[in-house]
């Protein structure tokens, strides 16, 4: 795909991968709609990158997603790239023997993680794909999964949503391929972001690092390079690109 002049939506653009990706795409000449629920972070992004278009939207809410996608299409007059990146990492075992009175995994946490990590990808992709198909325009949907899709201990909800994201990627690669719309997933391992620091205890993270052949966490730029590869390579479709230092082989 030719990046210069292309148009993109990046969700969760206020921080971490989403922010770095937005800056990278802008520098390659892409018009970027930076979508995030955090208005302050979007304002900070816009201060650093005046060319960006920002859209405040909770991607776990279908009405907000429909409105945002309509607004982006009318502002950009089309779209080639959707990166479903917004997500939250929450940890809890299915049964927590230390938790009283109810030892079971919280239902609230389950629904929250499913809404943000899984439903949002479905809402965004169906809204965007409908418009792409309607305009017969080619494009790519990149979904950010995680190494956790293979089943990380202590991450029932998070793992389930990321496995769902990978499954949806494969379905859409098959369904939308004939329209020239690709779907690719990128599955990072443990990467140095504020999100990781907030969600994973240091001693837990150290255990993962010890098990990683490269003995370190990944860097944001290593994930961004993979997302850019997924966007640019027009023959990659339906794949899950793992970037985890060899933690899972």
């Amino acid at each position: 795909m030719k990046l210069d002049g292309a148009r993109a939506i990046v969700t969760g653009a206020g921080a971490g991968f989403g922010r770095a990706l937005t800056l990278k795409l802008l520098s390659a000449g892409v018009k970027v709609a930076a979508v995030d629920m955090d208005e302050t972070k979007l304002a900070e992004l816009a201060a650093e990158a005046p060319d960006v278009s920002t859209f405040v939207c909770n991607v776990a809410d279908n009405d907000q997603v429909e409105k945002t996608v309509a607004d982006v299409f009318s502002a950009f007059n089309g779209l080639e790239i959707l990166v479903n990146n917004a997500g939250i990492m929450k940890n809890a075992p299915l049964i927590n023997l230390l938790q009283r009175p109810d030892r079971k995994h919280s239902l609230e946490l389950w629904h929250q993680v499913v809404s943000v990590n899984q439903n949002s990808v479905f809402y965004m992709s169906r809204a965007v794909a409908d418009k792409m198909v309607g305009a017969r325009s080619k494009g790519v949907i990149v979904n950010i999964s995680s190494i956790s899709a293979r089943g990380n201990i202590g991450q029932t909800a998070y793992s389930a949503t990321k496995a769902a994201v990978e499954a949806m990627t494969k379905v859409w690669a098959k369904e939308l391929g004939s329209f020239g719309i690709r779907a690719v997933a990128v599955a990072p391992g443990f990467i140095d972001t504020a999100g990781t620091a907030a969600a994973i205890e240091e001693k837990m993270l150290q255990r993962w690092v010890d098990q990683t052949p490269l003995r370190r966490t990944g860097r944001i730029d290593e994930i961004i390079a993979t997302i850019m590869f997924a966007i640019e390579n027009d023959f990659i479709n339906g794949e899950v690109l793992s970037v985890n230092g060899g933690l899972v082989l």
């Binding site: 927590n96 009283r100 202590g154």
Partner: protein, 75 residues
């Protein structure tokens, strides 16, 4: 209690000397809600006892673990 110290050392990947101390959950790097499950299963199998939910949730230091196991063995 030597058998219990062995379980603590194996479960939390610590030295036999560390296992003899009275460490609390935050002081042991490998002790979280997941390894707590392994600990309970290992203790129940080794001593052929079944710990109550409240006792399990109260076992937050090596000393509390020793006292609880002793209580079951003495009963």
């Amino acid at each position: 209690m030597e058998r219990l110290n062995d379980i603590l050392a194996k479960t939390f990947k610590i030295s036999p000397g560390e296992a003899e101390k009275d460490l609390t959950m935050p002081e042991v790097a490998g002790w979280d809600s997941l390894t707590h499950m392994d600990l309970i299963v290992a203790i129940e199998q080794e001593f052929n006892i079944q710990l109550s939910g409240d006792d399990i949730a109260d076992m937050l230091s090596f000393e509390a673990i020793r006292q609880t196991v002793k209580k079951y063995l003495d009963a």
